[in-house]
């Protein structure tokens, strides 16, 4: 057994195993990943999130397999039958390997960081043009939506026109809530005393979920509502039929005449 452990061919073999495991892992992620039951994608933003999850998983596979394959290889090949009778080699380190490890980690981190900063820039872009402003008010345990550009029409079901950029202005009248539309990759806390902003352009018609993501008291689990993404004609007629209510938390939007 001890002689086996001293063989130089271990490195070649373990790297081969690692390469095979990595290829299999990448194939599994690449082909089976899209089958995962993510929430329906209803905005480009959510599509970017799913792309990010996929890319990060692909980058993780070699790292994960490296650790797993080396650990498993050691476990199988270097295992001693009972209490070892002699010690292993007195290797205290390998400065090239340690430096290489740091360099590879830094390169990976730099890639992830560049990726993240690029998409952070994307999601923070303030959309230009005909932006629909929706004021979202969290209260225990309801979401209220007001359309300041449409005479402060108010509703508990969020109606959005398809393919028109939306600015959500989010506030709370009691405790912290968090406004989340899983299908659109939109989430922002509703913090009392503060108005938060987040932007999205829905690109798919249908009915989606709004959930509260910040524990907000006894009925937090039931603080959800629906988003209906509809055509702009339907949107106009729906909003016209809604009751109106004077705003409390939110100032008039810029360019409210649109």
């Amino acid at each position: 057994m001890q002689n086996v452990a001293a063989e130089p061919r271990h490195i070649t073999r373990v790297i081969t195993f690692w390469a095979i495991a990595t290829v299999i892992g990448l194939a599994v992620v690449f082909f089976l990943g899209p089958l995962f039951p993510f929430p329906t994608t209803a905005s480009a933003r959510e599509g970017d999130v799913n792309l990010t999850l996929m890319v990060f998983t692909l980058v993780s596979v070699p790292v994960f397999m490296f650790v797993v394959v080396f650990a498993a290889y050691s476990l199988i090949n270097f295992r001693s039958d009972g209490r070892p009778t002699e010690d292993g080699p007195a290797v205290h380190g390998n400065s090239k390997l340690q430096a290489g490890w740091v360099v590879v980690s830094v390169v990976l981190v730099a890639f992830l960081l560049g990726w993240g900063l690029y998409y952070l820039y994307q999601v923070d872009l303030v959309p230009q043009g005909n932006v629909l402003v929706v004021d979202v008010t969290g209260e225990q345990w309801n979401w209220n939506y007001t359309y300041p550009q449409y005479g402060n029409a108010t509703t508990n079901v969020l109606y959005l026109p398809v393919n028109r950029p939306v600015e959500f202005r989010i506030g709370s009248i009691d405790v912290q809530h968090s406004f989340w539309i899983p299908s659109m990759g939109v989430k922002e806390d509703a913090v009392p005393g503060v108005i938060n902003h987040i932007y999205v352009t829905p690109n798919k018609m249908g009915t989606f979920q709004v959930r509260c993501m910040e524990l907000c008291g006894p009925y937090h689990a039931y603080m959800d509502s629906n988003v209906k993404v509809i055509s702009s004609d339907q949107f106009q007629s729906t909003v016209d039929s809604l009751p109106t209510e004077a705003p409390t938390l939110f100032p008039p939007p810029n360019g409210s005449a649109s």
Binding site: Q2, P37, R45, D48, V49, T52, F56, S60, F64, V67, F70, A71, S74, L75, F78, S80, G82, P84, E86, D87, G88, P89, A90, V91, H92, G93, N94, Q98, W101, V102, S105, V109, L112, G116, L117, Y119, L120, V123, D174, Q176, P182, G185, E188, V191, P192, G193, V194, N196, H197, R211, M213, L215, C216, G217, P218, Y219, H220, A221, Y222, T248
Partner: protein, 628 residues
């Protein structure tokens, strides 16, 4: 055991003092201040409880005698305080012997782990099927809060308490901690903290989750007072323990025990103690402001004062998030760093090889320690707080993966071409590698702002931090207890039960939390008492896994008790380890070393020619001419 000792203050007198102190405080306020001050009465009652406890176990005796310029205790008196000749009774009173305090911590953290575990079982029972079948939503929220905070408090203490006290002073070659009475005091503070924490369900609960964000914390039941008060106490216990550990490691090392010869576990405990000493005060401040808001009508966190107009309060809920996470993020590293270190300590012993890249490991852990203070606002990516800083916090958060990743290099390098002796500590080390790998990689997803905006607050996050904290700290603890139990108790843990425990936890843990990743990606929020039917499958699997974990940990508790009472008696150095704690006899004598050893080499010189210990000495190698 002589008549002299029968009159000593102990936990029983402390219990009486605590009850009397509590009743005086509570009814004192109600009778002399007014019946309306129910909430304040509880807090004053707890202060009475704390003082009654500390006085009646004798924790404050020496500060008083010192302040009154009475006789300074001589060495004989100090030994008596450390429990010399005290028999089993020394475990039931205020004591200064680091080994007794370590065992007291071990018992208390196991009780806390059990209580937190019961909370986990209740949560998973509620979530097994959709429809909030077991508890109403308020009770469920309280259980979530208590499970979270109890487990975090347990994990903070689970290494620094038992092993930091029992093992570390022996490892560095000291006779006790630097400040033995302070050590006794930090344990004496933790016990009432746990007791007061258990008031929560009887005071209307606290429905905030362990993050206790305002303004919900101002609104929820009186349990929030118990939560805040007890966790301030626990925080002080942790900080006092931490400065003591740092002082011990810095000043009490044996001659020749250079920093580069410290066992890696000592470095891990030191890193953890630095985080604890520097970070915990922020949590205490957060909780103090919550208490003031609740009890005295201040508005630190309230934008709107009660009954006032908008923004008349002037406070801001973001402050609550910032103070909390300025503690909260270093705190997760304070929990896992000793776990890293324990695994790096055990692996060389069981593969009979030196630690691969000792200095890399130390630098990695110290790097994590420093950077962990710069990342806290990644918990606030969706809070709206200074959106421009999100890029910065994403950067620091991803940078911290570089020093963290070094741990894996060190472990893999140490395993490679070793002589693997598959005992339970090594098995748990492999489990640690698997679990922390997954926990670490999923953390990268959460550091990415756009992905985090989607995943934040979902079950994905819950699964991620259970992989890091359970997988990184608790699994390492389980390995460490199989490793050090023979030294602590003088007996082996039963190995057969140990393997049942091991495989049960592996199967249950991965079932539970992989299923949680799944439902989290599907879009299930965390901390919900009920959920949509679409998440039913994953939750059912998670609950089954959790019950398997519960059963396995029950086996572990049974094993600990049974082995402590009637296990196989252990040798002094059963693993043939080279660190100092294994060179002293079992049970460890009162002042550890007859003669302080002189250290001439590092702790992991496996594979090098063996040198016989010097006659009469217990140093690892031949003594140097100078003995301190």
């Amino acid at each position: 055991m002589t008549a002299r000792y029968t009159y000593r203050l102990n936990y029983f007198t402390g219990l009486i003092g605590a009850v009397v102190g509590y009743l005086i405080g509570y009814y004192g306020v109600l009778n002399f201040v007014g019946q309306d001050f129910q909430e304040q009465a509880f807090v004053i009652g707890w202060i009475g409880l704390l003082l009654g406890w500390l006085i009646c176990i004798g924790a404050l005796k020496y500060p008083f005698t010192w302040a009154l310029a009475m006789k300074e205790p001589d060495h004989h008196e100090e030994l008596r305080l450390a429990g010399a000749g005290g028999g089993i009774g020394r475990y039931f009173r205020f004591t200064t012997d680091h080994k007794v305090v370590g065992i007291q911590y071990l018992v208390l953290t196991m009780i806390m782990l059990g209580l937190g575990g019961i909370g986990a079982m209740l949560i998973r029972a509620q979530l097994m099927f959709p429809g909030a079948n077991l508890f109403d939503t308020s009770a469920y929220n309280t259980i979530v809060t208590m499970h979270g905070m109890l487990m975090i408090a347990t994990m903070i203490s689970i290494f620094v308490g038992p092993f930091g006290n029992f093992i570390v002073p022996i490892m560095v070659g000291a006779r006790d901690m630097a400040f033995p009475r302070l050590n006794g005091l930090s344990f004496a503070l933790l016990t009432p903290a746990v007791v007061i924490f258990l008031f929560i369900p009887f005071l209307g609960g606290v429905e905030t989750g362990w993050t206790i964000y305002a303004p919900l914390a101002d609104q929820t039941g009186m349990g929030a007072d118990a939560f805040a008060f007890s966790m301030i106490l626990a925080g002080y216990s942790s900080m006092l323990g931490a400065v003591n550990v740092i002082a011990t490691i810095v000043t009490m090392r044996a001659p020749g025990m250079r920093y580069t010869r410290l066992p890696i576990f000592v470095w891990g405990i030191m890193a953890s103690a630095i985080l604890s000493a520097a970070g915990t005060s922020s949590f205490a401040a957060d909780l103090l402001l919550i208490l003031l808001d609740r009890l005295y009508g201040t508005t630190f966190y309230l934008a709107t004062s009660p009954g006032g107009t908008t923004n008349s309060g002037g406070g801001i809920a973001w402050l609550s998030q910032n103070l909390f996470w300025f503690f909260g993020h270093p705190e997760v590293y304070l929990i896992v760093l000793p776990g890293f270190a324990a695994v790096m300590e055990m692996v060389p012993v069981f593969v009979r090889k030196p630690l691969f890249g000792y200095k890399t490991a130390v630098l990695g852990m110290m790097g994590v320690t420093v950077v962990s203070f710069l990342v806290w606002a990644h918990h606030e990516f969706v809070s709206g707080w200074v959106p421009a800083l999100r890029g910065y916090y994403m950067t620091t958060t991803e940078i911290i993966s570089v020093p963290t990743g070094l741990v894996f290099l060190v472990l893999i390098g140490t395993l490679w071409r070793g002589r693997l002796w598959m005992k339970l500590p090594l098995a748990w080390s492999f489990a640690f590698i698997w679990a922390f790998m997954i926990g670490g990689l999923t953390g990268v997803y959460l550091s990415d702002v756009p992905a985090d905006i989607q995943l934040h607050g979902s079950m994905f996050v819950t699964a991620h931090f259970h992989y890091t904290l359970f997988g990184g700290a608790l699994m390492a603890f389980f390995g460490a207890i199989y490793y050090w139990f023979p030294k602590i108790s003088g007996r082996y843990l039963n190995e057969k039960l140990g393997w049942i425990h091991f495989w049960g936890v592996q199967i249950g843990f991965n079932l539970t939390f992989l299923a949680m990743f799944y439902v989290g990606l599907q879009g299930m929020p965390r901390r919900v008492a009920d959920y949509a039917p679409v998440f039913a499958g994953g939750n059912f699997v998670a609950s089954i896994g959790a019950f398997i974990i519960g059963a396995s940990v029950a086996v572990f508790f049974y094993n600990m008790v049974a082995s402590w009472v009637a296990g196989e008696v252990a040798e002094a150095n059963p693993w043939d380890s080279k660190t100092l704690e294994w060179q002293v006899p079992t049970p460890v004598p009162l002042e550890n070393f007859e003669e302080i050893p002189v250290i001439t080499s590092g702790p992991y010189n496996y594979g090098e020619p063996r040198q016989e210990p010097p006659p009469g000495g217990i140093g690892r190698e031949e003594p140097a001419p100078v003995v301190g």
